[in-house]
């Protein structure tokens, strides 16, 4: 490092500058996210992709167009705050039905997930056509098969899904961490899920009983939940 002359420094700077230009041109030319691998193949060998992308992201940070990451790929997208100006030219998008949207979010948050598991979460059969529609939209894909009897197909989301909703990765799904922490993404009830022990339910009053008021319950020490053993 110490022997780096100002000349080679300048040369390296030029190489980096040219690499940034190339990456920029490739991203501009493409509507779809371009993988880091594809970009790297096009850049001069001695330039680190990470550095190039860091510079490029920085250069576009406050512009009308931003460089965004989608998984292991990169794309140029207009800045979200300018959407209202561009929307009028955009073709109307098909709206997802409520059922389809619910299936989509269940797949996104629970993936890899089988159809039976989706139905368990929603408590209703997935209508024919809903999964079909999501598969066709390109947001949902068949991922593989679960290694259980019957080998059911598992579903997951695609890169196009992440791209559409502006997510760099699945971890960025809104509320993902909290939901996981609360055990709400598990197929079965987690063991640490509090089993509510109803102290004495108001509904359980016999004919010969009067309703207890909160004050009564407090006096009797019944407001703190406790396990009753008959």
């Amino acid at each position: 490092m110490s022997e780096t002359s100002p000349d080679t420094d300048l040369f390296a700077q030029q190489r980096l500058g040219q690499a940034i230009r190339i990456a920029e041109a490739i991203l501009f030319a493409s509507t779809e996210p371009v993988t880091g691998k594809m970009l790297a193949e096009r850049l001069p060998d001695d330039v680190a992709l990470d550095l190039v992308m860091e510079r490029l992201v920085g250069a576009y940070a406050n512009r009308g167009v931003n460089v965004v990451r989608v998984e292991d790929a990169w794309a140029l997208r207009t800045a979200p705050d300018l959407g209202f100006l561009l929307r009028r030219d955009a073709p109307q998008q098909k709206k997802l039905s409520r059922a389809a949207l619910e299936v989509l979010s269940t797949i996104a948050y629970h993936q890899p997930v089988t159809r039976a598991e989706i139905e368990d979460v929603r408590g209703v059969e997935t209508s024919k056509g809903t999964l079909d529609l999501l598969l066709e939209s390109g947001w949902v894909r068949m991922r593989g098969r679960r290694r259980t009897p019957g080998r059911p197909v598992t579903y997951g989301t695609t890169q196009a899904f992440l791209d559409h909703f502006g997510l760099a990765e699945l971890r960025d799904l809104p509320g993902m961490e909290e939901l996981k922490g609360a055990g709400l993404l598990s197929p079965r009830m987690p063991s640490n899920f509090a089993v509510p022990v109803p102290p004495i339910e108001n509904d359980l009053l016999r004919d010969d009983e009067d309703e207890l008021t909160d004050v009564d319950l407090e006096e009797l020490g019944l407001l703190t939940p406790r396990v009753t053993e008959d």
């Binding site: 561009l86 929307r87 073709p91 809104p174 609360a182 109803p198 339910e201 509904d203």
Partner: protein, 286 residues
């Protein structure tokens, strides 16, 4: 510049009801829902709605009251002689069973899950469904490609990955296969109208009901009460009894009866009770 200020609209939270505005197309894609019970997406959705009316915190709801509200609702709908999707009735039967378990103190010799545990499972499922609802709403309100954020309008072909010259997705492939096989298969299959319950129907319902409880349950009563109109009770009873024998033979169900004419108790057997991807039940309950 001063017109079309729609960005504020996207930012503020939209209630789920407003979100799914085009329910008209839903009718086309979901022809199999017999009765759209006031726009609910299945029994769990209806339960969630009822629970929401009870309390803000789902862990504080009274499951007994919830069961009563649900059963009351179903009874009213049935009184109006509307057909209900089987799912709603299965849930009514199960809730009636759960309610009875919660009201009667636990018997000493009773095995398996208590009413409280079953209630907790129900609460978990309600919470989980609600969480997915909220997640869906948050998802759909993000800045979305093609609506709030846009890609390059005039892309250019790149000299990239020359090796792949053919494009097709797995979905394309499967759709092509299914379409042609379907085309070739004989297309006019007559579905006979059913006045009675088939063994398969009864079997599916038993699997779902007993699978729900995981414990000794006397389900017959609830089964006939909620799953049929009076004229069909015999057929339901006969079919479900025959179906239960079949399930026992396969080791998927166990039954117990204290004496003649006493309630028949059922619970899942050693082999896993699993619903095969099932044929639709809708339309069976008439």
């Amino acid at each position: 510049m001063n017109s079309g200020h729609k960005d504020g609209e996207a930012a503020q939270p939209v209630s789920p009801e407003e979100l799914w505005s085009d329910n008209k197309t839903q009718g086309l894609s979901e022809p199999e829902l017999v009765v759209d019970v006031a726009g609910f997406e299945g029994p769990l959705d209806l339960l969630l709605h009822l629970a929401r009316n009870q309390k803000v915190d789902l862990s504080q709801i009274s499951v007994v009251a919830l069961a009563e509200q649900y059963i009351g609702f179903i009874d009213r709908v049935r009184a109006m002689r509307l057909e209900l999707a089987a799912d709603y009735l299965v849930m009514a039967a199960w809730l009636a069973f759960l309610k009875s378990k919660l009201l009667v103190p636990k018997q000493r010799n009773e095995e398996g899950e208590s009413g409280e545990e079953l209630a907790a499972v129900l609460q978990f499922r309600l919470k989980r469904l609600e969480a997915m609802r909220e997640a869906a709403a948050r998802l759909i309100n993000r800045d979305r490609l093609g609506r709030d954020v846009f890609a390059r309008g005039a892309p250019e072909a790149l000299e990239l990955d020359r090796s792949v010259t053919f494009e097709a997705s797995l979905y394309d492939l499967l759709a092509a296969y299914a379409v042609q096989r379907q085309r070739q298969a004989i297309s006019n299959v007559q579905i006979a109208a059913r006045g009675v319950w088939s063994l398969q129907d009864a079997r599916d319902l038993l699997v779902r009901l007993v699978g729900h409880s995981g414990d000794w349950s006397a389900l017959n009563g609830f089964l006939t009460q909620y799953l049929s109109d009076p004229s069909q009770r015999r057929s339901v009873l006969a079919s479900s009894f025959a179906a239960s024998l079949e399930l026992i033979r396969e080791g998927k169900l166990e039954v117990r009866q204290e004496g003649a004419f006493a309630p028949i108790y059922m619970r899942p057997g050693q082999r896993q009770l699993q619903l095969q991807p099932r044929p639709r039940l809708v339309g069976d309950v008439t």
